[in-house]
Structure formats: structure tokens, C-alpha cells
């Protein structure tokens, strides 16, 4: 749509745009070149700094760390989806004694910074006699936060289903929970699928917070590999490798979200609100 912002460029505008383009590329090349030069000048591209990649033990360790990241992600994602569904339904309940606590819980966990929650479970819960350990401190925090966000996403989705759907379902004699289960929820999930997947990307990224409580995931592995003196403490090479892994994983998931969004728009299952993207952006961050 933004292409409507300007006319098709004429000859003079084309020259100008090309000039700006060349200038921009020069700036980027200069910046990248400078960073690359610093990498080179400080010896980051030298063989010894990358040799660790060739050792089988270290490769296996790297895979173990990747497994730890993905393990925390999968467990937390499943729990968060369940939490979200449960609390979305509870928030739409007709009983105030279900609706109000659900509202309070969801709002509370959305407002508390994830780091504070993780530190709380890791440092404070043992004082109360509950020792969760690093994995569950991380997973439970991720579940509570992302589950609360997902609860809002599901709820927004169900509320965006056209009124007629609900009315028709009641008119056919379906019960409250049948209406919810068989009519509202499937449509909401279908319409909200892109947002749900984007939230899972957020969850995947947030597993890196496990670094702060020494969960042995990718970032801790990078810290460890980067401190090996026999390879000249290759922190920059390891950061580059780990960064590439994260970007690949998240881009793959984001691409899935993008695909689902295009598909839902094509099949006409997108939300009827005109700026649904802004609404979902508001919920998801």
C-alpha cells in the first residue's frame, strides 16, 4: 500500500533515487567494512579462533545446548498454549467468580517483567520451600508470561468472531460450552494463528533468558566456548555462530507465521477488523 505514497518516478527522480541508493549502499558497505576491519584487525578471522568448531566433543556440547534451548521452548510452548486456552475461556465466563480471578492473574503476569519472575522463582521460591531448579524456573516463568499473553490473544479472537455465529449456535440449541468449543474457539484459533505463532517466536527468543540463571542453553554455551583459552578465547566467533542459530530458528518460525497470515487472508479467514494487525501488535508485545 505504501507504494501509493509516490508517483512512478520520472527521469529526474530516477536519477535522484539511484544517487540516494548508491550513497546508502556506500554507507552500509563502509559501516560493514569498518566492522569487518575491526574483526580482522583484532584477529577474529584467524584459524585458531575457529578451530573449536572442529572438535567432536565441543560439537556435541553445542548440540546439547541447542537441545536444551529447544527443550525449554517446546515444554513452555505447550504449557503456555494450554494456560492461554484455559484462561481465555475463564475470562469470557458468565460467572464473576471465575472471570475476576482469571482477569487479575492474566493482567498480573503480563505486567511483571519476565526477568523478575524468573529471579523470583529461582531465588525466592526456595525460601518458601519450593525448589524448582533452573529448568523449571525458566519454563514456569515463560509459561505464565506467554500463557497470559496468549490468553488475551485467544480472547480477542473469540470476541472478533461475528455475533451472528454465536447467536446462530444458540438458536440451534447448542449449550454454552458447545458454543465455545465447537463454534467460537475453532474460528478464533484459525483467525489468530499468525499472532499465536509470532508469540511463540517471542517465547523462543525469551528462552535465552535462561542464561541469567545459568541454564545450560545456547547463550551459556557461547559464554563457555568463548572463554576457552586454548582457542584464544573466541567470544566473537561463538557469538556469531550462536546468533546465526537463533536467527535461523526464529526466522523459520516467523516465516511460518507470515505464511499462515497470507493464507488466512487468501481464504478470507482473517479477522474482520480493519487494523487487526495493530490490535494484535498491541497484544503481542
Amino acid at each position: 500500500m505504501s507504494s501509493a505514497l509516490y508517483d512512478l518516478p520520472g527521469p529526474r527522480a530516477r536519477v535522484r533515487n539511484k544517487a540516494i541508493g548508491v550513497l546508502a549502499i556506500l554507507c552500509i558497505v563502509a559501516l560493514a567494512g569498518f566492522v569487518g576491519y575491526r574483526f580482522w584487525a583484532t584477529g577474529q578471522f584467524e584459524g585458531p579462533k575457529w578451530e573449536w568448531l572442529l572438535y567432536k566433543d565441543l560439537q556435541l556440547q553445542l548440540f546439547a545446548a541447542l537441545g536444551a534451548t529447544l527443550g525449554a521452548f517446546v515444554v513452555a510452548a505447550l504449557l503456555a498454549l494450554a494456560f492461554g486456552l484455559l484462561f481465555a475461556v475463564a475470562r469470557l465466563s458468565e460467572h464473576w467468580w471465575l472471570r475476576t480471578p482469571a482477569f487479575a492473574i492474566v493482567e498480573f503476569f503480563r505486567a511483571i517483567p519476565l526477568v523478575v519472575m524468573i529471579f523470583f522463582l529461582f531465588y525466592a521460591a526456595p525460601q518458601a520451600g519450593i525448589t524448582l531448579g533452573v529448568f523449571w524456573s525458566l519454563v514456569v516463568s515463560l509459561t505464565l508470561y506467554n500463557g497470559s499473553v496468549l490468553a488475551e490473544v485467544f480472547r480477542a479472537g473469540m470476541q472478533a468472531v461475528p455475533r451472528g455465529q454465536r447467536e446462530a449456535a444458540y438458536a440451534l440449541g447448542l449449550r454454552k460450552n458447545q458454543v465455545m468449543r465447537a463454534v467460537l474457539l475453532p474460528q478464533a484459533i484459525q483467525a489468530m494463528l499468525p499472532t499465536i505463532v509470532s508469540q511463540l517466536v517471542v517465547l523462543l527468543k525469551d528462552t535465552a533468558l535462561g542464561y541469567l540463571i545459568t541454564y545450560q542453553e545456547l547463550l551459556n554455551e557461547a559464554r563457555y566456548l568463548g572463554s576457552l583459552t586454548e582457542f584464544g578465547r573466541p567470544i566473537i566467533p561463538t557469538a556469531l555462530v550462536i546468533g546465526t542459530i537463533y536467527i535461523t530458528l526464529c526466522t523459520a518460525l516467523s516465516a511460518l507465521a507470515g505464511y499462515l497470515e497470507r493464507r488466512s487472508r487468501r481464504t478470507g479467514r482473517a479477522l474482520p477488523t480493519p487494523d487487526a494487525r495493530l490490535v494484535t501488535a498491541e497484544l503481542a508485545t
Binding site: A111, P113, V116, A124, A222, A239
Partner: protein, 216 residues
């Protein structure tokens, strides 16, 4: 309960002061970089579009913790200008949040009706005139709520700096744990602190929405 707050007031005051500072500086930086990126992404120059898109794709798909990690551990190895941990935290937060600011601004621009663009073009406005006098004043209205939540998550994200040698609100829990203070009460006060910090944000959002709630 209040004793804990008074006994450890040094922690709470420096902690939240640094959080506020981090938030303000990084927020300002993110708004500036993000708006520039959005302008690049809608500009008629393909090279600029590519740069904007690349930046957003990379930073949206990188964990903020990794950005912090890079600035804390990898940056000094490049032997560039020596800056404090606090400055590096501001840089990490600003660069990361800018990608989200860019997306919000861009989708805000997309909510403006195409007819508006066409009309201003028909009137002979240039690209920058169209953007500044027609599109942005309208886009800004739909941008306020999602922008508030981006800033809100920036406020919460400042706590990640706790893991990277910056004493701010996220650092309070481990520090209290070291002092052997009851953490449940500490947690309560941290939550209260963040609650207080969020209030002005939401108030600003309400005020702006009310002020700009003119019928389109």
C-alpha cells in the same frame, strides 16, 4: 513489610533510578532510529527499503539477551571506544526496540486510506510533503496504543540489563537474596515499583488518545 524497603532503600533507589534512566534514554533512541527505519522502508529507493527490512528482520529474530551478550562480551574485543556497561545497555535496548518501533510506525502508515495519498499526490505534494503533512498526522492516532505497549515492553526489558553488570530493578532480587532478606516481600515491592512506573505511560496514552480522538 515496610522495613525491608527502608533497610534496603539504597538498592531500591539506585535500582529504579537506573531503570528509569535506561528506559528514557533507550526509548528516545529507539523512537528516533525506528522512525528513520520506517521512513526508509516506505521510501521510493530500493536500497533504503532493503536496509530497513534487513535491520528489522535481524533484530526481531534475535533474542535481546544475545544483543546484550554481544555488547557486553564481544564489543570490548573489537578494541573500539571504551564505554560503560550502562551505555552499552542503552545501545542494546535502543537498537533492539527500534525494530519494533519501525514495524508499528509502518503499519500505522498502512492504516491511512490510499485515497489520502492519491489526493495529496494529485495536489502536487512531494513524497516528503505527503508523509509529513498528510500521512503522519493521521497515522499517529492509530499508532499510539501499540507504541505504548512497545514502550511498555521496553520498560520490562530493561531488567535484562541486570544480568550484564548494570545495577537496575532486575538486580534487586539477587542482591536481596545475597543479603538474606525475605524475597517474597522484596518481590512485592518490585511489583509495586513497576506498577508505579507503568502508570504515567498509560496516562500519557489515554491523554494522547483523547486529544487526537477526532473523527476521521
Amino acid at each position: 513489610m515496610i522495613e525491608l524497603l527502608l533497610d534496603n532503600r539504597d538498592l531500591f533507589i539506585t535500582g529504579f533510578l537506573h531503570t528509569i534512566l535506561l528506559f528514557l534514554l533507550a526509548g528516545l533512541g529507539a523512537l528516533i532510529i525506528g522512525t528513520l527505519l520506517a521512513a526508509m522502508r516506505v521510501s521510493p529507493v530500493p536500497a533504503l527499503q532493503l536496509v530497513g527490512t534487513g535491520y528489522v528482520t535481524i533484530f526481531r529474530n534475535t533474542p535481546l539477551t544475545l544483543v546484550f551478550f554481544f555488547f557486553t562480551f564481544a564489543y570490548p574485543r573489537l578494541e573500539l571506544v571504551n564505554v560503560s556497561f550502562f551505555t552499552r545497555a542503552v545501545l542494546a535496548l535502543a537498537m533492539y526496540t527500534a525494530a519494533f518501533v519501525c514495524e508499528v510506525v509502518r503499519s500505522g502508515i498502512n492504516t491511512v486510506d490510499v485515497g489520502q495519498f492519491e489526493a495529496s499526490r494529485a495536489l502536487g505534494f512531494t513524497f516528503s510533503q505527503t508523509l509529513t503533512t498528510v500521512v503522519v498526522p493521521q497515522a499517529i492516532r492509530s499508532v499510539v496504543p501499540p507504541m505504548t505497549s512497545v514502550l511498555n515492553s521496553l520498560l520490562k526489558n530493561t531488567t535484562i540489563a541486570a544480568g550484564f553488570s548494570v545495577l537496575e530493578a532486575g538486580q534487586i532480587t539477587p542482591a536481596l537474596s545475597e543479603r538474606g532478606a525475605p524475597l517474597l516481600i522484596g518481590m512485592f515491592w518490585i511489583a509495586v515499583g513497576f506498577g508505579i512506573l507503568v502508570v504515567p505511560l498509560t496516562a500519557t496514552q489515554r491523554a494522547l488518545e483523547k486529544r487526537w480522538s477526532v473523527a476521521r
